[in-house]
Symmetry: C2
Subunit: 199 residues, 2 copies
Amino acid sequence: MSSIKKDTRKNILTATWLLMEQRAGQGVSMSQIAKAAGVSRQALYLHFDSRIELMVATIRYVDEVKELNQRLKLFQQASGGIELLDACIDVWGNYIPEIYGIAKAMINTMDTDEASATAWNSCMSGLRDMCVQIITALQDEGKLVDNWSADEAVAIFWTMISVNNWQQLTIECGWSNAQYIRHMKLLLRRTFVLPDATA
Amino acid sequence: MSSIKKDTRKNILTATWLLMEQRAGQGVSMSQIAKAAGVSRQALYLHFDSRIELMVATIRYVDEVKELNQRLKLFQQASGGIELLDACIDVWGNYIPEIYGIAKAMINTMDTDEASATAWNSCMSGLRDMCVQIITALQDEGKLVDNWSADEAVAIFWTMISVNNWQQLTIECGWSNAQYIRHMKLLLRRTFVLPDATA
DNA sequence: TATTAACTTTACACCGTGTCAATTGACAGC
DNA sequence: GCTGTCAATTGACACGGTGTAAAGTTAATA
């Protein structure tokens, strides 16, 4: 049975995830993860080459468990650009709080580590596709404002819904998550949808 | 003469600043700063209690040299809310590239260190005041959209012009700084100014 | 019974922060 | 000239984190 091996690996990943969420991705050492997972510190290195690789594996694991892309795909059949936009923010806005700790940890290491950056970006590729889809849908419907090119609009959209912005509005400004979702929908509509093009 | 002492302190601060800009605030150790400043590592601890205190002092020093608040005050006499908004983004958008490294370093340590957070916030207080001023000016002129309360509008404004968003749009999306300033002005106008209230 | 694989224990190397003590060198006032 | 003082240097050390290496344990497998 390799179920023992798989169990240990899973235990480590869930322990990492749990600690990251508890500590908001800050100051989580390998020793603490090992302790939380009920294994020795060295066991971590049997399963993962480095701390960064463990984090990359964790974000992938979370992605697999939480199935962001699946959730997004449910709404990709939505009729219009505005409906797509609302659906996207509903899904993403409810997703962020569940992955905030590990996401924050990833974002922090992205600056120094290339592997982290690509791993995080690959996990977020579905969301990014969604942004493109929304902008092109609005464009096709003639509802997209003409202030920016489609590429620029995607960049702005992508930036606005970043985890950092969620953190700033909720954790630092004290918004509730419902408030965040409501206001973000409005904000994106005001930004990208022509005034006379009501839903 | 205490000019020797002051010189050393200044050397350390400028060396820290320089290194932070060169390395975008990543992986700058006390040894490297000491080397760059032409002093021993221990000399740093004669002038600053800790690494964090050095960084706080550096951001204050940069603030003093660059005089963001002075630059902002020049425009606080601007007539209307829209003019204020444009002036604010001009000043801030040209300021960010000059302080990006140290700002990034500060933001990274803010998550763990309370002193960093308050120091950074105090340096940014002038900018924050500017946000409040712009929103209230728009409100007084009857040009503010009614989607949000004034407080919420300030939070959104503040979030949109964050250093993280600047980084994402310029460094990650490849925008030029001129592009950033132009688009950010437009974005904020679309977000907060009533459609019929043209400048 | 012997082997293999997962895991543990212990030890160590390396680096970064922060502390401490002894020392050098220059500049002050008497 | 002597002495005190202050900035700075040198060298050592504690501590904690990451990562490596080697020897030992345990349990399932062949």
